[in-house]
Each structure stands twice: as C-alpha cells, then as structure tokens.
C-alpha cells in the first residue's frame, strides 16, 4: 500500500515509517498538517495515518474534514495522545475510520492499517467466507470444516467472522474487543485469549492443521498455511 504518514514527532515518525516499510508498504511522510493536506489532496494514497495534533495551523481533524469535504474517501487512521472518549468520537466524526491512542505497539498499528486498507468491498457482499476447508455461511449462520458442521455460539460466530474477513491479516486483542464485543475498555486480563483458544479448540478438534494462529506480541491471524 502507499501510505501517507503525517506526524510531527521525528522519533515516532521514523519508527512508524521503518516498520511500515519493512511490512512492504511505501510511506510518504509530512511533518505538519499543511504539507500533509497538500500531499493528501494532490497525490493518490491507499491510506492516511495522521497525528491528531499537528503544528502548522491544520490539525488532524481539520485535515480529514477538508479531505472529506472534497470527496476524498481514503481511509484514515488517527494516532493520538488524546485518549478521552469524546476526543475519539470527535476524530471519528470528522471522518476518521479508526483511532489509536499513543503509546501503541507497532504490531497494533500495522494490524489496524492493514485491516483498514483492505476493507471488504461493500458492493459485493459475500454470503460465504472460506479459509482452506473452513466455511462460514453468513445467511444460515453455520460453520463447517471439511463439510463437518461445527457448533459455535453467536459470539464465537462473530469472532470467527471477523477473523475470516481479515484472513491473512493480524487482528489484535483490542481490535477484537472493539469490533466483536463493541466496547472500549481494558479487560485487565487475557480474557480475549481464552475466547480465542476456545474457538480454536472447536475448529481444530479432529484436524491436524490448525487455522487460527497466535502472532507473538500482536494478536491472531486465520490462514490456511501455518
């Protein structure tokens, strides 16, 4: 993906740029809102990663509002040291697609960038999701593996659906909390891990090829190849 990073802190910018490049993306970097807006409006990007507070008179929110008012629909991920709920709401209302609070783990950022950059297309809604021999039917809400029916609870179904929609991508624990449970909170312990390992047991029982993989220091990924 071609990603525009607008971040005034040189150290954070260097760290994010290096990480994204290592993950195979092209990164353009602007250090203030004005330059960022100019680049975003004049060139084609797959994704914008914006600091919420920027020098140069144009902050992240203004930048996104301006882009959106011009009909630019490039996905936007906010990075912000402002963690209060209404700040988050403000960012998303302005047209941001996701909001990540500093400090963050790079794996979390990368997972969110990739999830945003490859969002499922809206015009052709799939009725079935497939990963290897695992199939999830969105209409009958059933899960089968190698034609064998697997019983899952409604929440497990949503968990699996989210993982399968992002097959091949890392999904972090906080992303699961936000997207599958729809809460912004700190679960204190590894409850999400417990849910995932339960689901994993159900899916992999009787099969020698595991599908849900744990990505160290990041989260989970569903994919056919180990």
């Amino acid at each position: 993906m071609r990603i525009l990073l607008v971040e005034d802190d040189a150290e954070v910018a260097r760290f994010v740029k290096k990480g994204l490049q290592e993950a195979g993306h092209t990164v353009e970097h602007a250090t203030n809102g004005r330059d960022g807006l100019f680049l975003a409006a004049s060139e084609q990007f797959d994704m914008l990663v914006l600091d919420r507070m920027l020098p140069g008179g144009v902050d992240g929110v203004r930048l996104v509002e301006t882009l959106r008012s011009q009909g630019n629909r490039t996905p936007v991920l906010f990075l912000s040291a402002l963690s209060a709920v209404d700040e988050r709401v403000k960012g998303l209302k302005a047209g941001g697609d996701d909001y990540l609070t500093k400090p963050f783990a790079f794996a979390e950022l990368l997972a969110r960038v990739e999830a945003l950059g490859r969002r499922p297309s809206v015009d052709a809604p799939a009725t079935k999701l497939r990963v290897a021999d695992l199939e999830l039917d969105l209409l009958s809400r059933t899960v089968t593996r190698a034609s064998k029916r697997i019983d899952v609870q409604p929440r497990e179904f949503r968990l699996l659906e989210h993982l399968m929609r992002h097959a091949g991508q890392v999904v972090t624990r906080t992303m699961l909390l936000e997207k599958v449970w729809d809460y912004h909170f700190d679960p204190q312990t590894n409850v999400i891990d417990v849910h995932v390992s339960r689901l994993r047991q159900k899916l992999d029982k009787g099969f020698d090829k595991p599908l849900i993989h744990t990505v160290r220091n990041a989260g989970y990924m569903i994919r056919a190849e180990p």
Partner: protein, 438 residues
C-alpha cells in the same frame, strides 16, 4: 441622558410661554396700528388724535402707548408719551426701547407708522410682561438646575446601590483570580436577580473546583505512583545492560522492559479514566440504556476466564434494567469487579453476577468465594493503589476498585462491600453497586 431630555423639555416650555407672550403683544400692536390707520383714512389727523385719546381713556390696564407727531417738527397731536423715543427708526420698524411712561422709566415694545404729514408710534408697556418673563425664566432655570441635580444624585445613588450589591461578586472573583478557589459569593437573601447571578456563579465555581480536583488527583497519582513502576522498569533495564552480556538474556530484558512500559501506560490510562469519571467529564457520554445486555456481555466475556480456572460462574439477571449512563464505563466497572472476583476465587469456587430492580434503584452485585476483606480494609478499598495485605501476591494495580468507585459516583450511586457468606470461612466478598433509577 435623562438630564438632557429634561432640559430640552424645559426649553420648549420656555419658548412656548415666553415666546407666546411676545407674539401676543406684537399682534395687539399690529391690530391697533391697522385700526388707527383706517381711522385716519376716514377722519384725517383730527379723527386719529381723537381715537387715540379715546383709547387712552378706556385703557384700564394702562399698558398702551401712543404718540402722534407732525411729520415735520415736534408738535404732539395726541398720545401719552412725552417725546419721540431715542431709538431712531425707519418707517414700519418694530423696536424695543426704554421710554418715560407716567414719569416712570418702562420697557416698551414700539411700532412706528408714518402717515402723510404725521408720525405715529403705537406700543405697549412691557414692564409687567417683562416681569412675568423674568419670573418664567427664573423658574425655568431653577427647574433645570433641579433636574440636573436630581439626575446626578439619582445616578450616584443607583451606582452606589449597584456597587454595594456587586461588591461581593467583585471581591470573590478577585479572590479566585488570586488563587483562592474556595471563596464563594455571599448571598443577600433577597432572592433577586443579583442573588440568582451569585447562585449561578457559585454553582459554576463548584463545578470548576470538582474538575480541578480531578486534575489534581491525577497529577498526585502520577507523581506518587507512576514513579515506582517507572523506577522499577528502569532498574531492570539498567541491570540487564550491566550484568548480562548474553544476547538472548538482553533480548528478554528488553521485552520485559516493553511489557513494563505497557503496564505503566495501562495504569496511566486507568488513572485518566478514574479522573475523568470523578470530574464528571464523561457525563457527556451518558445515554439511556438497558443495563441487562451490558451485564450479559460482561458475564459472557468473563465466564470463560472463570471456567478456565475451574470456577463456576453464575448469573441472575432480570428482563430489563433501564438506566441513564455511560455504557463503556459501566462495563469497565463490572469487568473490574468480575476480574477481581475471578482472581481471588479458588478453583471449584463460584463467582456470581446478579442484578435486580428495587423500588428506587438498580442493584448489581458481584460475589466471590475468595478470602473476603476485613472490615478495616473495606473503607480503603476504593482508594487508589490500595491493596489488601492478602492481595499483594496476586497481580493487579490497586486501581480496579477506585475506578468502580468513581464510576458509581459518576452515576450518583453507592458502592458497598460486604461478606458474601458471613457464616462461612473464608467469607468471600460481595460488592454491591446501587444505581438510582432514572
């Protein structure tokens, strides 16, 4: 403003009365002169002289002045003036001068009229009118003076009254600007607009103080309690650098360092959340909601964790629990309680999440089979970073219950800690949240 309006009114009054007097005199003189000229045309100089004498004879007020002279020379044909007035005037002129009338100097308004071979002066003694005018002028001046005086006095009194009423406000705001946030505006007890203003301002001050305390709470906590974990993480990293040359160990130390930093930032996040809730800043996120799905979600999230530890998890929830509140914060509070309960319950024990509707409140209770809390510790349980002696071995920040406390306060509720099963040992702990119904 008031004074100038009053003065304008007086000026109009003056012009209307004094001016009218003048105009009246002039009109009388003019009518007289026209009548006399008519008489001359009919009866000549003699008739005119007679007419003048007649008029003088009937003039009871003794106001009229006449003088009829020959055009050439100074022979008086008729009239009550002794001689031609000093002021030289052309034919048809109107003038005002002093004349000798009945041996007394008097102010007179005169009109000169020339007829062939004759000079005539018609006039009125204005002494009386002049007096009247003087009186009038004096009255007007006095009135104006009084108006100005009263306006000034009124303005001063109004200002004084305002100043007296506003003085407490000024004093209080000055004190607050000077850093004394505890000072409040004294009410007069009259219940008027000033009291209402003072009440509003006092309410605003209360709010500011609450917010400030929230902020201060965070900075205190940062100062006291974030330093410890930061110091610990720093020490570990420094240790690793000096003691272990081995790369794998170094890598492990760096990873541990990152984990420690993550822990610190989670504590920080929790502190911010507590402060936000305590300051009431999150009330903006309040919305009507049904608490039951939130509780069910919390149960669903934590049930698996309890089962993974070999504990039983029981729920007892009603159909609906209508409430106005912050969904994320309520879930966080319940999650903290469940997390605590699961942490302190031994394998085989039971964690219970129950809720019920009381006549005036909603009650949510989380009970466990753990060691419970001794009564001395219960009072401190809501304090930041408080950890009971028995809990020191279990992981935790000591912030869980203080967040619960803050969330409950934010929702105007009460938090109660009690023995779950008082007749058994250990008694276990039940935490009861009582939230008011909307």
């Amino acid at each position: 403003m008031f004074a100038s309006a009053a003065i304008a009114l007086v000026a109009v009054l003056w012009w209307a009365t004094a001016g009218a007097l003048d105009r009246q005199t002039d009109a009388a003189i003019r009518a007289d002169a026209i009548a006399l000229a008519e008489r001359w045309r009919e009866a000549g100089a003699t008739g005119l002289a007679e007419a003048i004498e007649e008029r003088l004879a009937v003039d009871v007020e003794n106001e009229s002045l006449y003088l009829l002279l020959e055009a050439e020379g100074t022979r008086r044909l008729a009239g009550n003036l002794d001689r031609w007035p000093n002021a030289p005037a052309a034919e048809g002129a109107w003038f005002r001068t002093r004349v000798l009338h009945d041996g007394v100097a008097a102010e007179a308004r005169l009109h000169r009229l020339d007829l062939p071979g004759l000079r005539l002066i018609v006039g009125r003694d204005e002494s009386e009118r002049e007096q009247l005018r003087r009186l009038l002028t004096e009255g007007v001046l006095w009135a104006s003076g009084a108006v100005v005086l009263f306006a000034l006095l009124g303005a001063w009194m109004l200002r004084h009254a305002l100043q007296t009423r506003m003085r407490p406000v000024f004093a209080t705001t000055a004190a607050i600007a000077g850093g004394d946030l505890a000072s409040r505006i004294a009410l007069s007890g009259r219940g008027d607009e000033f009291d209402r203003l003072a009440q509003t301002l006092n309410g605003m001050l209360e709010r500011i103080v609450t917010l400030m305390e929230g902020v201060r709470g965070v900075s205190d906590a940062i100062a006291h309690d974030l330093r410890t974990p930061i110091a610990r993480a720093r020490a570990k990293l420094e240790d690793a650098l000096s003691d272990v040359p081995d790369e794998a160990a170094l890598r492990a130390a760096v990873e541990q360092g990152i984990a420690d930093l993550d822990g610190i930032s989670r504590i920080f996040q929790a502190l911010l959340r507590i402060a936000e809730a305590e300051a009431g800043a999150r009330r903006a996120a309040f919305a009507p909601l049904d608490l039951v799905p939130v509780l069910a979600d919390a149960a669903e999230i934590y049930e698996v964790a309890a089962e993974a530890r070999g504990q039983h998890f029981a729920t007892d929830l009603p159909e609906r629990l209508e409430l106005v509140g912050d969904r994320d914060l309520l879930l966080q509070a319940i999650a903290n309680l469940l997390d605590n309960a699961i942490k302190f319950t031994p394998p085989g024990g039971t964690v219970t999440l129950a809720a019920r509707l009381l006549p005036a409140a909603i009650e949510v209770a989380v009970a466990d089979d753990g060691p419970g809390l001794v009564p001395e510790d219960r009072a401190h349980a809501g304090e930041r970073f408080f950890r009971a002696d028995k809990a020191r071995a279990t992981p935790g920040s000591g912030l869980g219950l203080s967040l619960v406390q803050a969330v409950v306060n934010l929702h105007a509720g009460e938090l109660r800690l009690e023995d779950a099963t008082p007749d058994r040992t250990p008694p276990g702990l039940r935490v009861v949240l009582r939230l008011p119904k909307p």
